[in-house]
Subunit: 210 residues, 2 copies
DNA sequence: TCAATATTGTTCATGGAGGCACAAAGATGA
DNA sequence: TCATCTTTGTGCCTCCATGAACAATATTGA
């Protein structure tokens, strides 16, 4: 069963919204309303939600609790993912403490750096190891996911050491560098500078219009 | 002239690669090679690059310097953008110091927070003001772009104050919250948690296959 | 000079995502 | 009970991005 990437992204949004609605005690909601709150067309919402089976009630809408459970199950993982964070610069540390990355569905089990002032210490309650020890530590701790927050020049080298462990299956990279990985390793990149450039490009274009 | 969003994103990648090639003294490169280095099909590269006019030489390839200039011009801005950063938490501070956001094409002119310990001080060489003073300060400093790094609950309120200035035209948001803005304000969102969830979802799916 | 080779620019087809519109199904009220 | 109204689920159409194939152009070597 293959699901489109934009759909997954929206499912995460639905999940957040539903969690909030649940807290507010809301019982039922329509695709129309969901769409308005998230800036989507109602038909888009319905298509996304019906993708995993009929879950709404025609003439009524979606039962908030039931839909929340449903989306939760779609996004749920069979196990708790164990994550390693590579590069404890300011961005890495910010992510370590970030609410979004505190969840019971995954946890950051180790961080890695090359700075001797950091290696061996606990950072935000997580032990810090040397990047060179990644193959060993990742295997020991059964870490399958890597969050990469190192400078661009160091990115490929760090990735090579990580995949050398043989246990890493996914990488979330914040480095603005193209990464080469074995075909069975999945890479997602968040390119902050590129996002800003895109924004600026379209702003420039729209300047002439208005 | 309208350009597709994925194309812009790749142009940024081309630009980075070309800058590097230039430093290495490389004179000429083919679409094939560019594609291999960035993980793209050669035909894709050619289509992107020819979109803004014929710039390569058939039978030869692309002249690195010339192509670099060309892409640079496409991505260039008529003026230096003035940016404000809202929310000086750890993520905000990390971005302030991040290399990717140091450029001669834009600059962060002010930061905003509600914390009295920060307001009035200089942070990373940038003056910090209270969020409530945004309308005034943004207008004074002619800031057209906002980078939003506040908690989700505070996001909409902060955006409302920012757009109230009347000068803000674009927002790069790191908050995991849907934002309502006037139609003439452009919003790009970077949703870190959603990216991670996507990665985990596809890893889960591929577990059964292998 | 001309054949062989290399590489771009472009056309065309394929697939996929979004959105409209309508049928199906449940609710409501007389 | 039945007509009307609401809201979902889905078929269909359109648009856009990708990728393959080919024609056009430049280089090279004999």
């Amino acid at each position: 069963m293959k699901v489109a990437e934009p759909t997954i992204e929206r499912l995460v949004q639905y999940y957040r919204l539903l969690t909030q609605l649940k807290e507010e005690g809301r019982r039922v909601i329509s695709s129309q309303e969901i769409g308005e709150m998230l800036g989507l067309k109602a038909s888009q919402v319905r298509k996304d939600l019906s993708y995993f089976g009929e879950i709404g009630k025609r003439g009524v809408g979606y039962h908030v609790d039931r839909l929340h459970d449903h989306v939760s199950k779609i996004l749920s993982h069979p196990n708790v993912w164990r994550i390693g964070l590579v590069g404890v610069g300011r961005l890495g540390e910010a992510l370590l403490g970030h609410k979004s990355l505190r969840s019971d569905k995954f946890g950051i089990e180790a961080v890695f750096d090359v700075d001797p002032n950091k290696v061996g210490k606990m950072i935000e309650g997580v032990p810090c190891f040397h990047v060179d020890d990644m193959p060993k530590i990742l295997k020991e701790k059964k870490i399958e996911i890597i969050i990469l927050t190192v400078p661009a020049q160091a990115a490929q080298q760090a990735v090579d050491k990580a995949v050398a462990s043989g246990v890493v299956r996914g990488i979330l990279s914040f480095a603005t560098a193209p990464l080469v990985v074995p075909p069975d390793v999945l890479v997602y990149g968040v390119d902050i500078a590129a996002e800003l450039e895109k924004l600026l490009f379209y702003l420039k274009s729209s300047t002439s219009k208005e």
